[in-house]
């Protein structure tokens, strides 16, 4: 069973539907017992970093996620991926879960082409730096995934499995042990995204 952590941040409709579509058993939950009993965990999220950490803390989920991340596969999606890092500079400085080395920084000042729009909204090609990773079992090089974000993971080269070009290589997928993070939305990336979720369920 996959525990999808529900901490009041973002819309879980598509994620729940896509897991159901794949025939995967999932529980959308904020209950630490259910999260401990699950054999894998998804940490979704849309919105601002500081608010999201506060919501996790309020529900007592920070130590739960940190402990479970060492025991079973975990996938952070979009803001959920950003929370995995050590810290973020979105509206001030905030500590993250510290599961992946690196920090979350604004995209705009780092872009080589200032005419590019922020947020990055749309489909971008995923360049697999480590195509043999099991998460990419069902992917080809250069498939398109759907991004919506204004911040990105930085100083995380050793953990980066895939990037997308946006005048600079933008961190697309990171991995540290069993902890994975995807900046894009697999649940909104059509068939490509479903194959990523399927691979995650088979880790």
């Amino acid at each position: 069973m996959i525990a999808v952590i529900d901490y009041g941040v973002g819309n879980l409709f598509s994620l729940r539907s896509s897991l159901r579509h794949l025939g995967l058993e999932a529980a959308v939950t904020a209950d630490p017992e259910v999260i401990r009993a699950a054999d894998r965990v998804i940490l979704p999220g849309v919105g601002a970093f500081g608010d999201a950490m506060e919501q996790l803390e309020r529900r007592g989920l920070v130590p739960v996620v940190q402990a479970e991340a060492a025991r079973k596969p975990l996938l952070g999606i979009c803001l959920g991926m950003q929370l995995l890092f050590e810290e973020s500079y979105e509206y001030g400085r905030h500590a993250g879960l510290g599961l992946v080395p690196g920090r979350v920084c604004p995209l705009a000042p780092d872009l080589a082409d200032p005419a590019l729009k922020v947020p990055q909204i749309g489909w971008n090609a995923l360049e697999l730096l480590r195509p043999q990773d099991p998460l990419f079992r069902y992917l080809r090089q250069g498939e398109y995934v759907y991004y919506v974000h204004s911040y990105y993971g930085k100083d995380c080269a050793a953990s980066t499995l895939a990037v997308s070009e946006y005048s600079i290589p933008v961190t697309g997928v990171v991995r540290e042990g069993w902890v994975y993070g995807a900046q894009f939305h697999p649940e909104k990336s059509g068939d490509t995204g479903l194959r990523i979720l399927q691979a995650f369920a088979e880790l």
């Binding site: 409709f13 598509s14 579509h21 729009k117 922020v118 909104k188 995204g193």
Partner: protein
Amino acid sequence: MIAKRIIPCLDVRSGRVVKGVNFQGVRDVADPVEMARMYNADGADELVFYDIAASFEGRALFTDILTKVAEEIFIPLTVGGGINTLEDFDRVLKCGADKVSVNSGALRDPGLIPAAARRYGSQCVVLSADVKRVDGQFHVFAKGGREDTGRDALDWIARCVAAGAGEVCLNSIDTDGVRGGFDLELLDAVAARVSVPIIASGGAGKQEDFLELFRHKGIDAGLAAGIFHQKLLSIPQLKAYLAKNGVEMRL
């Protein structure tokens, strides 16, 4: 690099997809769930659902159709038509919409866009503007293109973006349904004013129209209805043509 998006628009009335020509003389085309499946299989990058009669008749939205689509199609879904309050946002987001497009609702209540952006984030709020030339000036129209608000369109759009709209869907009433090409003059003028993604709507008649559109800087997506619904242009064929001509496409 990021791909340009091709977006079919499904105008829904009474559970059926219809497409107006210059917003009048509406013709029935097909079942929205069936069409959404087909467009997803064809490689559409996003789908837009408009409840075209909602702003006029004040009807509740077509949430069961939306739910059915969102349960099996995993690409971004935008919903518009009759979005007047935060409760309207909430209702369609709970049924699987990713973005919500506001038009007349924002004209009636200037507080709607900032409030929605605060609650759901700018990425969720699309400003949809129906624009028409009046005495050589671009005016915003309300109520499905039936009412001239007298407002300058460029100022209105810039104001909504500053207030939190994360994307602009720009529909030219002058070129809508005519199939003579997108309204490039209007699109260029808006692209010069705002830095959020712009979706061009109204006027697509052939694949060359899309190529010309994407050669203009600052346009991120092309939206069309009738030419796709009536199969005058197939999405796989269009995307292959654009890719061959150097436009980045998700194939």
